[in-house]
């Protein structure tokens, strides 16, 4: 796989943002691009980006593992990431997450048996006024869902599962 071949336009756009001496800056957007298809970053993609930016694979690995939005292992098609940090928790996020687990019959960190949804708890997402809330991380990037109830969430999940199927 080569990002330059798969996403020629995007790669060009990304590289154009930074001065030549700052080419390395492109590593984060390129990693998001590499993650788009599979939901995680493969070894091959790391080598590809290393070549593209003239840095070592270890340097890229160091970046990937520092940030929480990059993944190196396969998970559900969508990651449902519920904020249960202090402000959200003050507005019932812990209970919301618990109920969600029950409804999906999985624990935090697990994936539904159909491989569609991985449920995660994350740190504050800057939507504290609209708790409970979560974001989804999937093939179409990251989306916020705010002022949620369990019922509304289950609807969202149904739609996501459906979308996941269609895409396949």
């Amino acid at each position: 796989m080569s990002l330059e071949k798969t996403y020629p336009k995007e790669v060009k756009q990304i590289l154009a943002k930074y001065p030549p001496e700052g080419k390395r800056s492109a590593v984060m957007p390129l990693l998001f691009l590499a993650q788009r298809e599979e939901g995680y970053i493969t070894k091959a993609a790391i080598e590809d980006i290393a070549q593209l930016l003239d840095i070592t694979t270890t340097e890229i690995d160091a970046v990937i593992t520092f940030y929480t939005l990059y993944h190196q292992e396969k998970a559900g098609k969508y990651r449902v990431q519920v904020c249960n940090d202090l402000p959200c928790a003050l507005r019932g996020a812990d209970k919301f997450l618990e109920d969600l687990c029950e409804n999906l019959a999985i624990k935090v960190g697990e994936t539904t048996p159909d491989g569609a949804i991985t449920l995660e708890a994350v740190a504050c997402l800057a939507a504290c006024n609209n708790a409970p809330m979560f974001q989804t991380q999937g093939p179409d990037g990251i989306k916020y869902y705010e002022n949620m109830t369990v019922a509304k969430t289950m609807d969202v999940i149904q739609t996501l599962k459906h979308a996941g199927k269609e895409a396949e």
Partner: protein, 417 residues
């Protein structure tokens, strides 16, 4: 009072460039570039008393004047990392009043001689980045971004850059590292970014809200701005109100408004949920020192400005006001905050890396009913041992709720006899 920052709440469709322009938008930028010298722009901002809204409250005009004129090119960066638990103001600005923010950034760029501006967004802000990209493109099309603007030799491009999930990237030097494609670990300072910043070039970094003030200041003058707020804290501020209030949300108010007004005002917080009483306030998100309220009117009547909040032995910071009512156990609160900081410690310096790890271990034992005095002492001692010794402020932040919570709410840390 008319809004200064959250103007979209009064003016429908303010995010559209024609609406924005009709309401005076982009004139300040054009005027600055065509009629003012950069030094004049900096002077106005300095005189307005505008202080950085990212937390530290440093004079914005002063910071801009520090840019090293001997080394080129210059960069300007908007800090849109907004990751402090309890903070959600920049997101509303960028989603609903993006052009005013971009205009402020553009004026800043002109003032410090930067031809390239980056907006560093926290990685979760994909949708916000899409909005900004679209707005940047519109501005470019309308001739407000690009080469030789308004026929002058000033050129400017603005780019968005998404982080990928790391609170520490809000710290300005960690942000620069991240923007350079590295792990977001803070740099040793000095040198400070205005001398050695992005790609080792002079760089100015400001918060989104800080920039958003600038077009209005240029349009209406420094005195107009100073006429709002207090002597030490000029102008208006967006208070992100969250926790146990009836109406959490962003409220734009002049500095010096009291906690009571924000929390109980009908247009604002509208009181505590279930009509309970306020036990504590965390005025600066998870990094706050705990302000003891317990129904104390004097505390509730304290004006919210940098100096007054300090009299309560706390910092106003980014004004992310988290309200804790009398049902909340402070023990539980510090459990949450430490978990956050342990997760977000970058690991670069010893006290923060080890301290947050061990505090997190100890606090779990301290949460139970069978807590021991020894563990409580150890927790306090670890926190104190970190204070003032970390490489960046995150380390200190992680201890604030712990030390002040334990000292000021001893009833929540009782040991069973």
């Amino acid at each position: 009072m008319a809004y200064v920052l959250l103007r979209h709440r009064e003016i429908p469709d303010l995010h559209k460039i024609d609406v924005y322009k009709k309401n005076g938008g982009l004139a300040a930028f054009k005027n600055a570039v065509t009629k003012m010298t950069p030094a004049e722009v900096i002077d106005v901002v300095k005189n307005s008393g505008l202080r950085g809204r990212g937390g530290a409250g440093f004079s914005t005009g002063m910071k801009w004047s520090f840019i090293d004129a001997k080394s080129w090119p210059h960069y300007i960066v908007a800090n849109a990392d907004e990751s402090e638990p309890g903070t959600f103001k920049d997101r509303e600005i960028m989603e609903s009043n993006p052009l005013q923010f971009l205009e402020g950034l553009a004026i800043g760029a002109y003032a410090v001689g930067a031809h390239t501006a980056y907006i560093y967004l926290r990685g979760e802000f994909w949708q916000v980045a899409d909005i900004l990209d679209a707005k940047i493109a519109e501005m470019e099309k309308a001739g407000y971004l690009g080469d030789n603007l308004f026929g002058t030799d000033f050129s400017l491009r603005i780019y968005t850059h998404l982080g990928a999930g790391a609170y520490i990237c809000g710290e300005e030097t960690a942000l620069l590292e991240s923007l350079e494609g590295k792990r977001g670990q803070p740099r040793v300072r000095p040198p400070f970014p205005p001398s050695v910043g992005l790609y080792n070039k002079p760089t100015i970094i400001n918060n989104v809200e800080t920039f958003t003030n600038v077009p209005m200041i240029l349009a209406n003058g420094a005195d107009w701005y100073k006429s709002m707020g207090t002597a030490d804290s000029a102008g208006v501020k967006i208070f992100s109100l969250s926790g146990r209030v009836r109406r959490p949300g962003n409220y734009e108010l002049p500095f010096g408004t009291t906690f009571r007004e924000l929390i109980y005002g009908e247009k604002y917080g509208a009181g505590v949920q279930d009509s309970r009483t306020v036990k504590a306030i965390m005025p600066a998100g998870a990094s706050s020192s705990m302000i003891v309220v317990n129904g104390d009117d004097k505390v509730l009547d304290t004006p919210m400005d940098y100096a007054s909040v300090r009299t309560l032995r706390a910092e106003l910071g980014s004004a992310s006001v988290i309200v804790l009512d009398d049902t909340v156990n402070i023990n539980w609160v510090i459990n949450k905050t430490i978990r956050f900081f342990k997760h977000e410690s970058c690991g670069k310096c010893t006290p923060c890396r080890e301290g947050t790890f061990w505090m997190n271990k100890i606090v779990q034992r301290v949460s139970g009913e069978d807590r021991t005095q020894k563990d409580l002492d150890l927790l306090m001692s670890v926190a104190k041992q970190m204070q003032g010794r970390c490489l960046c402020a995150l380390g200190d932040f992680s201890t604030m709720a712990v030390t002040t919570g334990m000292e000021r709410f001893p009833e929540d840390f009782q040991v069973k006899q």
